[in-house]
Symmetry: C2
Subunit: 226 residues, 2 copies
């Protein structure tokens, strides 16, 4: 067998949510053949780091965003020429953040790092559009059976923000009364003692996610389904 000549990379699809819109964190390369083209943050894995360390490092280096955990999405290795310089197989990870809290600071490798609205994403380098598409499908699926939406919201949020997030990501209207009843019956969110006064609108109670309660339900095998 010929010596293996395949490079291993990682890429990160980071979703953010802000003011009713879903965003993806993208960078614009300063150098290389894909100069000026938008791409996902990512790069080659170093010999002495785990895949998980590699993707967090690339993300921090290229966008300034530091997060602790990303979930492995899929390994892209069935298109041999996805990178025309050399065969590269890439392990894609995805993560969710409250984008209003995250400050994006590109470092020297990247010209820009920016939150781009999901429906305004241009043609990306490599097969990165396909990666975004798969990550979004995974997000939609998971949202219906895991309370991952809370990762996209501030620690304290209005109920209407949670509803909007579900409508935005699932691309459909939800039955708001049933949704509220269902979510509250799980006991996984709880009222805070704070009220938000919004201009002329009605004052609005703030809620927070109860992670402990969720872990308990999870242990009991209770399925969260919207």
């Amino acid at each position: 067998m010929k010596l293996q000549n395949i490079r291993l990379a990682v890429d990160a699809i980071i979703f953010g949510f802000s003011e009713g819109n879903l965003y993806v964190l993208l960078i614009q390369q300063k150098f290389g053949t894909n100069k000026l083209q938008w791409a996902l943050p990512g790069g080659l894995v170093q010999n002495e780091e785990t895949l998980n360390e590699a993707v967090l490092r690339e993300l921090a280096e290229e966008t300034g965003v530091k997060i602790n955990y990303l979930e492995q999405l899929y390994t892209f290795g069935d298109k041999l020429d996805r990178d025309h310089r050399n065969r590269v197989v890439s392990v894609a990870y995805f993560g969710l953040v409250d984008s209003s809290k995250i400050i994006v600071k590109p470092d020297t490798d990247a010209l820009h790092a920016e939150w781009i609205a999901l429906d305004e994403i241009p043609k990306l380098a490599f097969d990165h559009n396909q990666m975004v598409k798969l990550a979004f499908q995974r997000l939609q699926n998971k949202l219906t059976y895991q309370p991952i939406g809370f990762d996209l919201l501030p620690k304290e949020f209005q109920f209407s923000e949670l509803e909007n997030l579900y409508c935005t990501i699932l691309h459909r209207e939800i039955d708001r009364r049933n949704f509220r009843k269902k979510i509250l019956s799980f006991g996984i969110i709880e009222e805070t003692d704070k009220i938000l006064l919004k201009g002329a609108g009605r004052p609005s109670r703030l809620f927070r996610f109860n992670k402990k309660k969720y872990r308990e339900l999870e242990k009991e095998g209770i399925i969260f389904e919207i």
Copy 2:
């Protein structure tokens, strides 16, 4: 950055079901440092083949088993010394077959290839026990929302075989009356005109899976949930 020195491999976790038991397809190496130790079928990816081609080739070479489709499970690359000869990152795939129909024939690389019952799996080479564990979790999860169980059964099967499969894999009793009602109401299985005569027992109707109906339900977004 130092030249990347990471090898890329694929491994296959193939589940089979036969006479009420769940099996995993394992091989025993003839050569190498893990000589005689049991392992999953797998090996290094060649430069000119996709990941999917690589895993199907390794599977056929090492066990004689030819199948068309495997699902990507997870990429194992966070333990740097999972193979002590060189750093190897492995993309694990899993698949389901009716093991009574599959003839296992190891080729020259493997001493044995055998179906080993899930609860009798010995200490495997590398991190292969962890791979099997993860694949089994995925199988359990998927079984509750996708009709993947049919891949483990003969084309025509008795209803009791389907029930046993669910009990075996989910490790729990199921409410047989409700299960029957639910499965039949989905319309995804249908009666054949065949009856199986089993010794002194009651004659038993044979059923088959209706893939077309299932695809239709899937398109409509109907969730199959047991």
